[in-house]
Symmetry: C2
Subunit: 246 residues, 2 copies
Amino acid sequence: MPFEIIRPIRVFLSEDKQLFVALKNIFGYYPGNIFLYKLAFRHKSQAIELSNGNRISNERLEYLGDAILSAIVADHLFKMFPYKDEGFLTEMRSRIVSRAQLNKLSEKLGIDTLILANNESNNVFRSMKGDAFEALIGAIYLDKGYNFTRRVIIEKVINQHFDLQDLENNDTNYKSRIIEWAQREKRSLEFVTLNEVGHGYNKQYVVDVMVDKISLGKGRDYSIKGAEQDAAMKALLHLEAEKIVT
Amino acid sequence: MPFEIIRPIRVFLSEDKQLFVALKNIFGYYPGNIFLYKLAFRHKSQAIELSNGNRISNERLEYLGDAILSAIVADHLFKMFPYKDEGFLTEMRSRIVSRAQLNKLSEKLGIDTLILANNESNNVFRSMKGDAFEALIGAIYLDKGYNFTRRVIIEKVINQHFDLQDLENNDTNYKSRIIEWAQREKRSLEFVTLNEVGHGYNKQYVVDVMVDKISLGKGRDYSIKGAEQDAAMKALLHLEAEKIVT
């Protein structure tokens, strides 16, 4: 196909040759609209100010990429774990797309070296690397569409940099995880069985996790043990969202 | 095409004829794999128990649909509002996919009448209708793929049931919204300018929103006013996530 011949020539002549090549090495394809990718690497500390006063950086692409990444990971986990419930899938996803993981991933893939930011930014903006990774996903999505992005994320990111089995074995006992955390942080922790909902076959227990007497998450299940796990998982998600546990 | 002739015959002969027709009326197409859609309407109060002890309901599909819907709405808003920042886009999306909106939408589209649940469920599970709507999106995605789902959501849901202009005009002043809320609920509210980050051209202000002396959200911007809006928006997202404000 003529495109396959023309593309390398265009790349070779481009002033963005280095970026073309870096992206080809990371993801295995040449970008179409290189401006999207350049924007993805522009941290807000290097925002461009337009004549209308708008400031342009990778923040909008990060917003988009974050949502696309969540959807792709949700889909992948849904299919990889056909017998696991939505609590498990939610927790697995939050491990894959946690800020700490995305920062690490950005370094592993060499994305961090492509970021355009002020010198001091790396210290001030602790999530800069992960944010750029998300922005890059936004750029790939706009450039190549959902199905292409999905393939790239699964083949070049998840399959190569995550061991789902490992991630699964690692601390899926939410109750023991939150107990360990509370002991370490010297917080009071209590599991309170609140009430039952439903009747007969559908009877479920509701359990509340109290940290320092404040409710952090209610769980519901057909057994008290299950409801405790569910509640602990929700409390952990809450603590992770607050960046108290990572 | 032969499929176009065969499809109506298959529908007519199917024991799920009613569901086929209802879905065609709502979304304008006949479902492929009807089992996915039947599962989407099966509330956990009517879960099926398998021989291995697993219970099957629409909860996994809801997890998937929630992520897919977020991605589609993020993409749509990104393109509809090319000059708005990610804070605006995040707030707009949270208004579209709020539990209250999804419940309402479920009723408008007539999805709620298709739900299979125990009689008491409607009172016990307040988000049952919205959950089924999300599960349905998960089913469409698995049945027809991302691009098809995206078109359906934009054409049959967003364009017909949301006025983005209205949604935008409605209370984008986050600071005044949280002030009104605090007055109504008799909570103490304070905006505290914490510090500045960056230098010269890149100097930004950091503002903290304190409700009853507890920090609910830090905002950052190039002006104190902007940082206050950002902080108020984050505090509102926090309160919405906790279902304190809807």
